[in-house]
């Protein structure tokens, strides 16, 4: 949570960890309050302070807080699981999505069967449109959208993904 006011007497978590003077224009201060030291420690351990600083400066000011929070999340996930990090969670969720889609397909088939059997004249609602996920597995991990293993060749940067 970004602090609304910054005081030089209280350095931010980043400057406190880096043992430097926290300047008024410190890029980390709004996003790493001194009450949350572990947040910066995790981010620094995985990504490094310089990389985080560059990433913060590359996004719009109103999106920086979200960017820092996402980095903090990914850093914590990588510390907990050094092999897969947050990609492990993505794999689990993607498998769940596929399982639900299969179950839904089966239920739709039953529904059509019953509707046909009872000579129901009402048209069956078409199944909801679903995103086509690629079945790209490597070992035990599932990587949704294998194109993301390749660099993004878009003309411009996206605004940070849709949520």
């Amino acid at each position: 949570m970004a602090s609304s006011s910054h005081s030089s007497n209280f350095p931010c978590a980043a400057c406190k960890f880096l043992r430097r003077k926290c300047m008024p224009d410190c890029v980390f201060a709004p996003y790493f309050p001194p009450e949350e030291p572990q947040k910066f420690i995790n981010v620094h351990k995985i990504f490094g302070a310089s990389n985080v600083s560059k990433l913060i400066n590359e996004v719009a000011p109103h999106q920086r807080e979200d960017a820092v929070n996402s980095l903090a999340y990914e850093a914590e996930a990588r510390l907990k699981d050094p092999v897969y990090g947050c990609v492990g969670a993505i794999s689990i969720l993607q498998r769940q999505v596929l399982r639900l889609q299969r179950e839904l397909d089966a239920i739709h088939a039953d529904l059509i069967r019953y509707a046909t059997a009872t000579c129901n004249c009402n048209e069956m609602p078409p199944p909801m449109g679903r995103t086509c996920f690629h079945h790209n597995t490597s070992g035990n991990i599932y990587y949704p959208n294998p194109h993301w293993n390749e660099p993004y060749e878009g003309n411009g940067r996206s605004d940070g993904g849709s949520l």
């Binding site: 996402s70 993505i90 999505v97 839904l104 293993n149 660099p151």
Partner: protein, 298 residues
């Protein structure tokens, strides 16, 4: 540090860092020289030192998987600079929620269909049961047997009993009985008592009333609703009266009247026996004959 001519091409990591790519380079297997963009993304997010630090903290057998996840994470961050993999996770959570909601809706709809289907099956079974029991009763009637008591309530339950006498008997039919007495009489009774194929208005008294009239002599006249039946039934109604009115035959003192009645009743008996179910039980005939034997005595 530039590469010497003829040396093996450096990996993307060493090429970016402009250093000699040694054979023991940790990143060489995962960042080939032709994937510079991938390395740039990984380097931008993690940094070479941090990647090497992660790899060194892991078992060599886990290096491949770890590098794959690192590259994936870096590419996602390059695609979505603000939310990165967290955005993908949130998207998946949202998809799961939508799928679960859809599944709940479809399951509810499926349950409705199942209940409706089950209800229809029960109705069909009930109708089949009724028709089978009706067939049993009809067969019993054809054999001249009184239907079982449990069949009568079944007839009561059959609310749609049309009394359209499709095979009605006219006066001419009485004189000229059909060729196949059994079949025609069975049809007559079948249409008279039960028509499971048609669905008409409920006639509560008609099946039981007519049935009782045929089998139980002292019955009340038919209702007006069965006008057509009554109209045809009048043709043979007097015969039943003559057959069943035992007291009148026994008590009468007028022999002529009794003989006349006897003759007429005998004739009517013959005709009615011809008209009635051909397979009328001998017991009924004996009972009928007993009346005349008594009257003949008198």
């Amino acid at each position: 540090m530039t590469l010497k001519g003829g040396a093996t091409s450096a990996c993307a990591a060493c090429k970016y860092q402009r250093r000699k790519c040694i054979p023991e380079c940790l990143l060489a297997p995962y960042f080939p020289a032709d994937q510079t963009k991938v390395f740039q993304n990984a380097h931008k997010l993690f940094g070479v030192s941090n990647i090497v630090k992660i790899l060194r903290s892991l078992d060599p057998s886990q290096h491949a998987e770890a590098m794959r996840s690192i590259k994936y994470q870096a590419n996602v961050r390059d695609r979505f600079p603000v939310y990165g993999c967290l955005g993908v996770i949130r998207q998946l959570y949202y998809q799961i929620q939508m799928l679960e909601e859809e599944m709940h809706t479809v399951l509810t709809q499926l349950e409705m269909y199942r209940q409706h289907h089950h209800h229809q099956q029960q109705q069909h079974q009930h109708q089949h049961q009724i028709s089978s029991m009706a067939d049993d009763v009809i067969s019993q009637l054809e054999l001249g047997m009184a239907p079982s008591n449990n069949a009568l309530p079944l007839f009561n339950q059959v609310t749609h009993q049309p009394y359209t006498m499709q095979n009605t008997y006219s006066s001419s039919d009485i004189d000229s009985p059909p060729k196949d007495n059994v079949e025609n009489n069975s049809l007559w009774i079948q249409h008279l008592f039960l028509d499971t194929n048609n669905h008409g208005t409920s006639n509560n008294d008609s099946p039981i009333a007519i049935q009782s009239q045929l089998l139980v002599p002292n019955s009340e006249p038919l209702a007006d609703t069965q006008h057509q039946v009554v109209q045809d039934y009048d043709e043979i109604h007097p015969f039943f009266d003559s057959i069943d009115d035992r007291q009148s035959y026994i008590d009468t003192k007028d022999a002529e009247d009794s003989s006349r009645a006897k003759c007429s009743s005998e004739e009517s008996l013959k005709e009615t026996t011809q008209l009635m179910v051909g397979n009328v039980g001998s017991k009924d005939l004996k009972n009928a004959a007993a009346c005349f034997s008594l009257t003949s005595v008198n």
